[in-house]
């Protein structure tokens, strides 16, 4: 297409954005619109699908095709869209409740099928739109409107769930870490198969400060580790700390320079064993830095391509279907 490349502005709609002032969703929306433009995506070939929740208003604010569906069910709708028209770039936007509570079943099956869509989960660890109940990612014991004496559920770790479902692309990023967020979205887009991106997102009304350690600039560098394939796990403002194995699947934080060098550290491998990746995904502050970026990226067959390949193969073998033939088949007889 010889059309002028679109800008971020082209991806905005005339609809008034209605999230609470200060919500992390604004930052994600802005970075996403910028990324869509940077990637040279065409609006008419994109579909953004969402379920229900604060995050799910997202499609109304992006000038592409969009479908705001029902709670937890963006995934099946997006699957149908992608299978029906594999040419489309399909993005799913969901919250933690949408994706891991009511829609949890669909999410694991999406990952199993590896349909070529991007699943962005805005994880604020709270139910926002229903005004502050605990979510499937809320920490154990959380006091909320529906758990005045503390929640009794242990939370899901979304990246671990995704790894458990053997997702082919698993990444994490942070709402206001714009550079990282944009790079992660580009990586997600570049991956063929289901790209799962957990975005830590602050709900400043019902769960403010939930991610203070990893969001605040002053604290962030000491509490996150930006994963890069083939590079050692180093973190800290002065990049002077790292992760090495203390034993099998037992990571430990070490200080570089005290007889320990980069070559002693764990080197990140996006195609590493699920055991290794699960160890990574379970690391978190205060004991460890939180790994963000691409945890896993592997190639695997996708169901959307598989369906169309099978249709082609069967058509090549049997010939294009003729209606008359299948109707006038079997034991037929004629009455004069």
């Amino acid at each position: 297409m010889a059309e002028a490349t679109l800008t971020k502005k082209d991806f905005q709609t005339d609809q008034e954005v209605r999230w609470c002032p200060g919500c992390g969703d604004y930052a994600i929306l802005s970075s996403a619109q910028q990324t869509f433009a940077d990637l040279g995506l065409e609006r008419h070939n994109m579909v953004i699908v969402s379920g229900i929740g604060c995050a799910s208003r997202f499609p109304y604010y992006v000038n592409t095709y969009g479908f705001h569906t029902i709670h937890g069910r963006a995934v099946p709708v997006a699957s149908g869209i992608k299978i029906a028209n594999p040419e489309l770039s399909v993005w799913i936007v969901a919250g933690d409740g949408d994706a891991f509570s009511i829609g949890g079943n669909h999410v694991i099956h999406l990952m199993r099928r590896n349909i070529d869509v991007n699943l962005l989960v805005f994880d604020n660890r709270i139910y926002g739109l229903t005004k502050g109940q605990y979510s499937p990612t809320s920490e154990f014991g959380k006091i909320t409107k529906s758990t005045p004496y503390g929640s009794l559920d242990r939370p899901f770790n979304p990246a671990s769930v995704a790894l458990g479902a053997e997702a082919t692309f698993v990444a994490r990023t942070i709402d206001i870490h714009a550079t990282h967020l944009k790079q992660t979205l580009r990586d997600a887009h570049g991956h063929t198969g289901t790209s799962f991106v957990q975005i830590f997102q602050n709900c400043n009304i019902f769960n403010d400060g939930a991610f203070e350690r990893i969001r605040e600039k002053k604290l962030r560098d000491d509490n996150i580790i930006e994963l890069k394939h083939g590079e050692p796990l180093i973190f800290g403002k002065d990049r002077d700390r790292g992760i090495r194995w203390a034993g099998q699947s037992q990571p430990e934080v070490v200080q570089l320079g005290t007889g320990i060098s980069e070559k002693d550290l764990v080197v990140h491998d996006e195609q590493g064993s699920l055991g290794y990746l699960m160890t990574l995904s379970e690391m978190k502050p205060p004991d460890f830095p939180l790994p963000i970026g691409v945890l896993r990226r592997i190639e695997a067959p996708t169901v959307d391509a598989g369906i169309h390949r099978q249709i082609k193969e069967v058509t090549a073998r049997k010939g294009a279907g003729e209606l008359e033939k299948i109707i006038y088949s079997g034991n037929i007889w004629t009455v004069d």
Partner: protein
Amino acid sequence: MSVEGTVSKKRERPVKIERRERAVIRFAGDSGDGMQLTGSQFTATTAAVGNDLATLPDFPAEIRAPAGTLAGVSGFQIQFASEQVFTPGDAPDALVAMNAAALKANIADLAPNSIIVVNVDSFKDIDLRKAGYEKNPLEDGSVDSFRVFKVELTRLTRAALKGVDLPTRSIDRCKNFFALGMMYYLYRRPLDVTFNWIEEKFKNKPELIEANQRALKAGVAFCEATEVFEHVYEVPAAKLEPGTYRNISGSQALALGFVAASQKSGLRLFQGSYPITPASELLHELSLYKNFGVVTFQAEDEIAAIGAALGASFAGALGITSSSGPGIALKGEFISLATMVELPLVVVDVQRAGPSTGMPTKTEQGDLLMAVHGRFSETPCIVLAISSPADSFDMAYEASRLSLTHMTPVILLSDGFIANGTEPWKLPDIGALNPIEVPFHTDPETFEPFRRNLETLVRPWALPGTRGCEHRLGGLEKEDGSGNVSYDAENHEKMVRLRAEKVERVADHIPALEVDGPTSGRLLVLGWGSTYGAITSAVRRSRAAGHAVAQAHLRYLNPFPRNLGDVLARFERVLVPEINMGQLALLLQGRFLKKIDSQTKVRGLPFSANEILVRIVELLETN
């Protein structure tokens, strides 16, 4: 019945051939005895002979219920005739009972003097105990009013297959074909259709071909040699309407109807489905048609199945989903979304006996009110109903046509009786099918997602991939025209009424209700769905007895045909037989303030024609 001649080769006692207009036979046995297969072979042969026919498979929900028990009895009934057949028949003229439980489960359905062929080898003490018989019914007089033929099916099959290199277990499984051979002899059917089927089925297993063919022939030979039957029956070919026919099940015809709609509309068929009895057959059938571009998506659950179908529809496919009552209930929220965003979607409900899991393999018409009204808020849907196995083709096509051209979901009601039943299908002229024109919107200048056609109120359909028509759909109430989210009170009322009116106006695009028989008078029998056959038989019999009875059958349940109110008003009484507690009767009474005589039955089985006939006569005799 007339004695036509005799078949006697070298016998002293001639076997009489009786000519019959129709016959009803039932095969019953353990669910491992192959009764469905036996029945379908008898059906294939009977179709080839040129009889009209209708079948009723009746099997347990358990794949293999405990052998020999009542719970494990599987049955297959067929009525075939030299005239038109509308039902699988009421009482069987002949029953094959492969064991004691099969006899016990079926004997109450038999009229006196009917034929019973029993496998006496399965009437040992242990068999009797499992069936719940205290004494052997073959010896205590309880079968005296029938013509009982006690045959050692197991022993005779073993003898016939002597020398075949198969384990006894496999040899014993051939006894159903021995019984089938006996029935072929009794009703003078040829063996070639089943012979060919055996050869095809066991292509690479010569010993199984040998065994099954031998068992079949042995059944015939046994009858010839022993002259076990005094009479054999001739049911001549039927004088069907001229045309080309094939025997077809409801599920097969339904699949072909959707493929036809896909071909005629030029849209890819996308079926999202989750396996459930008795709807799974449609998934199996459609998955065969990959070279028609058909996509079948076996989803992780019922909700995902319909969600994927709706997504495919948004992207420009003919999206369909299929299930039975429990699954349809789960799909409700998505049907509501499809209504809200005004996208095409066909939802097939193959009804079964409920509530809850109910009796999954048994039929019922209990989902009519759910289809018409069973969703939250004001969520109108087009509702259609299939009336017979072959009609599934036409109605799948019609459901697709209406959904695509009116941009709204259609619920298509079938049931277990229709889906599993078979009948001869007069093959359609493909060229004569109603065209399905789907004008996708491609002009950005004139595009607004909810700018409606003023006549039909249908909104434009612009597909993702169309430059300049980018838009957002969603479950939130939207402003008419622009489609922007709106919480405006006036707009909401307008939209609720528009969606209702849009569905109501579908009535301008469907045929009027036809009345068969007198156009006014004492009694109209009005049905919907699978009661068609039983009602038609009952009405014809009552007319033959001199009664003026009218009949009409609703294929469109929402909206109703425009003339339905007039039709009802022209009759003093309206009888509505339904396999539920009176759901259509409730709708009609509410809508037209007409007193309805409701006839209901909820036994997991279709009406017999006689049951309806009795009610017709009762109504005509009372005021």
